[in-house]
Amino acid sequence: MSLIQIVLTVFILLIAVYMYRRLRTTIIDLLLILVFAVVGVFFVIFPDTTTEIAHFAGVNRGADMIFYLAILFLLFLVIKLYARLRRLEQHFTEWVRKKSIEEMVKKED
């Protein structure tokens, strides 16, 4: 096992443990975390398997395929986060608005 494989494996396991400790809600969450960790570690230890899948998908190297997928996934996350930020801002605005108007009406009495 090369150094990078050890580093990546340790990181994946640490993230899995961290996620489990933070979420620790349903059995589904646990299963998902477990599946992701196992798949991740598997690909780190046997990187050639990703190349086979990549060839099947029409990409030359496994690492390239992971790279493409990671970009798509990150883009998806950014959009989700932005949408959430907007929602948050709207809720916040509504709250501030309501308070300001209430304040005004109180002063008027």
Binding site: V96, I101, E103
Partner: protein, 228 residues
Amino acid sequence: MEIAQDIFVIIPCFNEAAVIRQTVEAVHSEGYSVVVVDDASTDLTTQVLSGLPVYYIKHPINLGQGAAIQTGIDFAKEKGARFFVTFDADGQHEVKDIAQMIKVLIDKEVDIVFGSRFLPGAMTNITPSRNLLLNAGRYLNYFVSGILLSDAHNGIRVFNRRTAENIRIRENRMAHATEFQISVARNQLKYAECPVHIYYNAYSIKKGQRGLASIKILFEIILYKIFR
């Protein structure tokens, strides 16, 4: 003529202490109900306005002009307003135009009247570069809303209750002018334009938006379209 008190003039402001009292007094002298929405000014706006018979609402934190206008609309709706007016604080609008625009609203039986500085009869001392920018804005607004106005970003508008109940400004910052147009199109509200006067003075130019702000607005509009 309609009862002036039923006409609520919403004046959003942010750090306009130097001119706000003059603007508010001019509007109030016509008998209109005035709603000043102070978007968390850090200058003397609150003190300058004290003693004036106007509704004064202050946001505890700065949200943007679009948010301030929506706050004013919500408040005026609660107060039973029949007509709603948006009016800039910096003194570039002419108070007499309000009555003219309300007349157009009633005579033409429309739901909203947009002020325009480019129609015949309007008066403005606009610079050529700003003129060009506003023209680009017109077509952008047309592209996203399907409504082509002669003036893209004019702070003065008059609308009725139906419009107030159908419009909800979600763009807190400057893209609200475009959002007005989109909402009008979406709710199939009837609209008209009315020539108005715009006076650019040293103060309003200094305080007003710079050309670069238009790029920010452009991005806000694109994001608005994607994340509706």
